[in-house]
């Protein structure tokens, strides 16, 4: 039993953190919004060159073979920076899922997908409007009881506007040509839903932390009634409440990642738990951060809303708090035995 991160895990996290702090500033995100090109291909290429996109591929395929715990640390940083490009999606929903897919679909994806040069978008009933499909090479699509892979050129879709200008979404009208399968559907569907929940959970924790940091700085800086607003108990307590929520959501992320790594039979429950706790933390972070910022928080000028918008979107997709709650309840009551369980591990 050792809950500490390895040096290597922390190193990946720090590399990503420092890269994004240089290359993914709020200003650069705003540039993308203004140009209506939120996907910055230059930044994408640099991330690819850093090895992030292939970080969790096996070494034989040119990757570093890092595990899901290290991934979750890295993805938290992508949330912290509100990175617009679908990096988390590639490494968590494509790379990490690949070994589970049947050969027919895997072959198609392998033929299409060239890590770093292009990417694959994903759609699922829990997140039905794929991200950056217009820029993607192909789409992995989950339906009620089948899943399929199609080249973007074989898909008829229209654009949808998200409340987060960093997210270009699409609605799929029809698919002309695809490879489809229902092999081990339950297992694979559950695997992608769990990964979607955990991935959005990681991003949300990063976003919540960022909003807390921005608010703490603002509360130190802004004066009212002759002193920094951060010296008022009301502001202190609303930010302390956010710190508490984040503190107790974060370990659920790492446990869920570890469960995926270990093929723990409860990994779906653990991923639902991680998203549930992170969404609640992010929800409070949005509310209390804007409140601590006062009217300034309500402006386009302050960076706060860059992070709030992403948080609102990520709370909603890949199963919101309500959906995760439902999964947890159903799992806990699925057997008499579960009802009295006391232990975490």
């Amino acid at each position: 039993m050792n809950f500490n991160f390895t040096e290597e895990q922390l190193q990946f996290k720090n590399t990503v953190k420092s890269f994004l702090s240089d290359e993914c500033s709020p200003d650069s995100i705003r540039d993308g919004w203004e140009a209506k090109k939120p996907f910055n291909h230059d930044r994408w290429n640099k991330i690819a060159n850093l090895g992030v996109l292939s970080s969790n591929l096996p070494e034989k395929d040119g990757g570093f073979g890092i595990d899901q715990v290290a991934l979750s640390l890295m993805i938290e940083e992508m949330g912290y920076a509100a990175l617009p490009e679908p990096v988390a999606e590639q490494i968590f929903l494509i790379n990490d899922l690949m070994p589970l897919l049947p050969d027919s679909i895997k072959e198609e994806i392998k033929n299409t997908y060239q890590t770093g040069s292009n990417f694959i978008s994903v759609a699922h009933p829990l997140s039905p409007n794929p991200l950056f499909l217009n820029d993607a090479a192909g789409l992995l699509l989950f339906n009620e009881d089948t899943y399929q892979f199609a080249l973007t050129e074989d898909i008829d879709f229209i654009s949808l506007v998200s409340n987060d200008p960093s997210r270009e979404l699409s609605k799929i009208n029809s698919i002309q040509k695809s490879v489809s399968s229902s092999e081990e559907f339950e297992k694979i569907n559950s695997a992608v839903a769990a990964r979607g929940a955990l991935m959005t959970g990681c991003l949300l924790i990063g976003l919540a932390q960022k909003m807390l940091d921005l608010s703490s700085l603002y509360a130190l800086d802004r004066t009212q009634f002759g002193k920094p607003i951060g010296s008022f108990q009301a502001i202190k307590h609303m930010l302390a409440d956010v710190a508490v929520k984040i503190e107790f959501a974060r370990p659920t992320i790492f446990r869920a990642a570890h469960s995926l790594l270990e093929n723990n039979p409860k990994s779906a429950l653990h991923c639902a738990h991680a998203k549930y706790m992170s969404a609640k933390a992010a929800e409070l972070a949005c509310k209390n951060s804007i409140q601590a910022h006062g009217a300034m928080g309500y402006t386009w000028e302050m960076d706060l809303h860059i992070f709030m918008r992403k948080a609102w979107s990520l709370m909603a997709c890949w199963g919101n708090e309500d959906k995760q709650q439902d999964i947890i309840y159903k799992t806990l009551t699925s057997s008499e035995e579960e009802l009295g369980v006391l232990y975490t591990f």
């Binding site: 987060d164 009212q224 509310k287 009217a295 609102w312 709370m315 909603a316 708090e321 959906k323």
Partner: protein
């Protein structure tokens, strides 16, 4: 106590309903935070005035109908039921209007109230300054009396509607030696006056809901002083009371949201867990309680009572309720709760309302300030 509507009140309701059915624009207006939308909303104010519906509680001579607060609540219920446009002149009709009625001279009332009712003057608020937000007594913009006019210098911010409005009202420091609440005066300024510069502040939705107003040697006639020189704080407190209180936040808005939320849940209940029921019930119960409380307050006022810390209590209650209802709606909407596409009208409306609801606990005196007021004035706790 007799909490039923009279025959006359019900007839009045029918009159409002019939008029609105005919006159409310069938197509939603553009956002009033755009130039074009603003003018559409000004047109709607004119239409309302053509039916004498600008402000039913005002005396007839100022464009009203001389009706009581209960009639006003009925009017509001029908207004929200008809999904009629947002009142672009709410700063005027709900805030400055009652203040003028109480503190204005006969000339001021004649000049301003009628133009307000017709939509010719759309008003913005000029309270906050960069160094004076929740702490309004820290105002530094000066208005120096020179003969029969004031010369104004300084800056206002968070002025709602100012991007396209015609006039602003607010507090200015007329006694330069004074500190805090003393030496402030309540002055009305046309935004056309030379020396006035308006710079819009884009808000969360990217539109200029607010603006900064810069004053550079702006000359304003002494006739635009409301009340006496130095009485500004007292008058502003009365206005702020109206703002938080029953005029601006009629219960119908929240009841309408609660009813829509219940319908949304009912339609989607097979796709979400039954746990959201508790929030839907809370929405109904609280919006209904708010309405009861406002009818209670209106009855008190009609019987000669006055409105006290109720406005602080109410502001906390409706702003938290409004946010909770929108948050619940987004949970019911599931994955579509990020779509603001025109093809996704329902989701887009709820998201817009959700973002707007974050403002509730902030503007018109943050909820933290309101809680201080309640603790100090109602519960008697020390400053």
């Amino acid at each position: 106590m007799k909490i039923n509507f009279t025959e006359e009140q019900n007839l009045f309701r029918e009159e409002v309903r019939s008029w609105l059915e005919v006159n409310v624009p069938k197509k939603p207006l553009l956002s009033l935070d755009t130039k074009e939308g603003f003018e559409q909303h000004r047109e709607w104010e004119k239409t309302l005035n053509s039916g004498n519906w600008s402000m039913v509680t005002w005396p007839k001579e100022y464009g009203g109908r001389g009706l009581d607060l209960i009639r006003w609540l009925i009017f509001e219920e029908e207004y929200y039921r008809a999904e009629a446009p947002t009142r672009v002149n709410q700063n005027g009709v709900f805030l400055l209007g009652p203040t003028l009625m109480e503190f204005g001279t006969h000339e001021q009332k004649s000049k301003f109230l009628n133009a307000m009712a017709t939509g010719d003057h759309i008003w913005s608020q000029g309270w906050s300054e960069p160094g004076a937000g929740s702490d309004m007594a820290a105002i530094r913009t000066t208005a120096v009396l020179e003969g029969d006019h004031y010369k104004i210098n300084g800056q206002k911010t968070w002025s709602s509607r100012a991007a396209y409005a015609d006039w602003t009202f607010g507090l200015f420091r007329t006694d330069l030696q004074s500190e805090r609440h003393r030496g402030l005066s309540f002055i009305l300024v046309s935004l056309d006056t030379p020396g006035v510069t308006v710079r819009p502040i884009p808000q969360l939705d990217g539109e200029p809901g607010f603006a900064e107003i810069y004053f550079d040697d702006v000359i304003v006639s002494r006739e635009n002083l409301l009340g006496e020189d130095g009485e500004g704080w007292k008058i502003a407190m009365a206005t702020a009371g109206f703002e938080r209180g029953l005029m601006l936040r009629s219960p119908a808005r929240f009841q309408q949201t609660a009813a829509k939320l219940l319908k949304l849940y009912y339609k989607n209940k097979d796709h979400c867990s039954p746990m959201l029921q508790s929030k839907v019930v809370e929405a109904w119960a609280e919006s209904e309680s708010y309405a009861l409380s406002i009818y209670h307050t209106a009855s008190k006022i009609l019987a000669g009572g006055s409105i006290g810390s109720e406005s602080s209590l109410g502001k906390i209650f409706w702003s938290e309720l409004d946010h909770m209802m929108h948050q619940t709606a987004l949970k019911i909407l599931g994955a579509s709760a990020e779509l603001v596409d025109s093809s996704e009208h329902d989701a887009a409306q709820w998201i817009k309302g959700f973002m707007f609801s974050y403002g509730g606990p902030i503007y018109a005196g943050t909820n933290e300030i309101q809680k201080n007021i309640i603790a100090e004035r109602l519960l008697g706790l020390p400053k």
